[in-house]
């Protein structure tokens, strides 16, 4: 299961709306345990695929290095990534699968339909190597802080 605060969940969906009709992308920082991946913070990343940003995303490795360094400073780990699918389903694509290499991490995809965030799904990359990796559907538990009631729809 992916555990994420309501505010972070809404923030990553809003990111997809902001970059529409292009794809957004970002990194999920947190901790993993037997119950799944727990997101403590999301970090927006730039999409380097300016040549085809409407249907591709790529996070520059040096940006990932810096985000991993940031995580280390917070005693957190990279536990997943998110991106959007403008006017496409919130389902992993062949490209998503081919380019997925972070086994054990959550890959969150938000469908953005005509500029509005629609369905958000998470997929856990499992396996041990490139040869046997696979995506599994992953439940999302949205944690609502009791001190700040949510506004709008989840």
């Amino acid at each position: 299961m992916l555990h994420i605060a309501y505010s972070d969940y809404e923030a990553l969906r809003a990111h997809g709306e902001e970059t529409y009709p292009n794809e957004c992308c970002g990194v999920l920082l947190g901790k993993s345990d037997a119950e799944g991946n727990h997101v403590h913070q999301i970090v927006r990343a730039g999409n380097t695929r300016t040549d085809s940003a409407h249907n591709r995303y790529n996070i520059a490795p040096i940006e990932l290095v810096k985000i991993q360094r940031q995580a280390r400073g917070l005693s957190l780990d990279i536990v997943g990534f998110y991106h959007s699918h403008p006017d496409h389903p919130a389902q992993w694509s062949p490209t998503d699968f081919a380019e997925a290499h972070w086994i054990g991490c959550s890959y969150v995809i938000t469908a953005v339909e005509k500029g509005k965030a629609a369905i958000t799904n998470s997929f856990l990359l499992t396996g041990t190597t490139e040869e046997d990796k696979k995506f599994l559907d992953q439940s999302i538990e949205i944690e609502v802080a009791t001190s700040t009631p949510p506004k709008g729809k989840a």
């Binding site: 794809e23 993993s32 790529n58 290095v65 991993q68 699918h85």
Partner: protein
Amino acid sequence: MNIHIPTPLRVYTAGAETVAVPGATVAEVFDHLTSQFPELKQQLFNAEGKLRSFVNVYLNDEDLRYLPSKEATTVASTDELTIIPSIAGGTPCCNCCPLL
């Protein structure tokens, strides 16, 4: 020098995020690393002994691929090596492309 291990590969370093490894060059450091943690070898290198295409290695903030001496680059004990798999993807190119 310290090598920073990405989340997916820590299962092969007994959970360690940072591993201290000796070596005068990047290649020597990798030799020591994979000697200490043998299961890392097939995760990092292909059958020809080359770094897998999706494995990025940074010496401090420099991409190893673009360093003139590449794996033969000399390193100091204060340098840091970061292993970072790539992250990319995207939607099907058009509506006619099936999803897997």
